[in-house]
């Protein structure tokens, strides 16, 4: 399952972050120095602080939900409980993947985290912030605003981080191909090892 995940993430990353490779550009950036790293610091900070903020956000949400349970319609009771459960699971997964992917410079994990953030967390938190039908109390609104700021920051920073990382690693692999071309046999070439991990 891990290999399938990597293959899927690699193909998605190729689709969304194409490497614009021009011959002269590659030759100018010929030397990726060995001590250079492409971990994105703002993204790492955002994920770190988000990890600390998330338990308190969740406890606050549960308390508020319990307080306003009587006033909610049937529909919003179900919807809010579903949203909180899904958000909890997704948040744990994406924070872990993002933290690990960014720190170890592993593109599949980081891409998975970014996709989860963009496709799941972002719509859900926008729904929580802006939906007045669900009896939005001020405390809840303040908590959701802080969380939404984190998610938006992670979407933007994640995009930049993945783009930088993909460019760097493809360049490095491309050069590595030339340096040890004698040792590279044809049946050893798997597309997903393009991202060194």
């Amino acid at each position: 399952m891990d290999a399938t995940f990597r293959r899927t993430m690699t193909s998605v990353t190729d689709l969304i972050f194409p490497v614009n490779r021009r011959k002269d550009e590659l030759q100018h950036r010929i030397v990726p120095k060995n001590h250079e790293y492409v971990t994105n610091l703002p993204l790492q900070m955002a994920l770190y602080f988000n990890t600390f903020f998330f338990p308190f956000w969740f406890i606050g949400c549960l308390v508020i939900l319990e307080l306003k349970w009587q006033r909610l319609d049937e529909l919003y009771r179900i919807v809010l409980v579903a949203i909180y459960i899904v958000y909890f699971i997704i948040e744990c997964i994406r924070l872990y993947l993002g933290y690990l992917g960014n720190l170890m410079e592993r593109v599949p994990e980081l891409a998975g985290s970014w996709l989860l953030t963009l496709l799941l967390s972002f719509p859900l938190i926008i729904l929580l912030v802006a939906n007045d039908n669900a009896v939005l109390l001020p405390f809840e609104r303040a908590l959701h605003i802080v969380m939404a700021l984190f998610v938006v920051a992670e979407v933007i920073l994640g995009y930049l981080a993945i783009r930088t990382m993909v460019d760097y690693q493809v360049t490095k692999y491309h050069l590595q191909q030339f340096s040890d071309m004698e040792q590279l046999e044809d049946n050893d070439y798997f597309p997903e090892t393009r991202y060194t991990s």
């Binding site: 900070m45 600390f52 903020f53 308190f56 001020p138 405390f139 609104r141 303040a142 908590l143």
Partner: protein, 138 residues
């Protein structure tokens, strides 16, 4: 330099204070009514409302200063400033909870503002100026 717990603690107390200030933005009527006499006029209410609004907005401005200093990394690892900030903001979070739950009169907010918003922001500005201009802490 064992400061590994201070950075998240500082962040969480700043966020707690921030969340409570935002809540007070939306629910200030009860506190304003607590500091006016029984028979208040609309103009008195509006005066006090404006006062509270100004106080809360300046608090948000000070938050911005402190967050720039903290998140921008300028004073993130300075332990003394971190200690001041953590203590001040956690005191503010506790007192603001009482402010909300017990419907304190709105004048008491200025005390909380002075000790717990203005003071850390002032120290932050002093540190930032010291780092930028006088190369302190390098």
């Amino acid at each position: 330099m064992q400061s590994t717990g201070l950075v998240p603690a500082r962040f969480l107390t700043i966020i707690a204070h921030l969340v409570l200030v935002i809540v007070i933005f939306w629910t200030r009527e009860e506190n304003i009514r607590a500091c006016l006499p029984e028979d208040y006029t609309t103009s008195q209410y509006d005066d006090k409302d404006l006062e509270m609004l100004i106080g809360l907005s300046v608090t948000l401005g000070f938050f911005l200063v402190e967050l720039i200093g903290f998140m921008g990394g300028i004073t993130m690892f300075m332990n003394f400033q971190g200690l001041i900030s953590t203590v001040a903001h956690s005191a503010a979070a506790i007192t603001l909870s009482y402010f909300l739950f017990d419907a304190w009169p709105c004048e008491w907010y200025w005390y909380i503002f002075g000790f717990c918003s203005a003071f850390p922001a002032l120290m932050e500005i002093i540190y930032i100026v010291g780092i930028m201009c006088f190369r302190k802490g390098y």
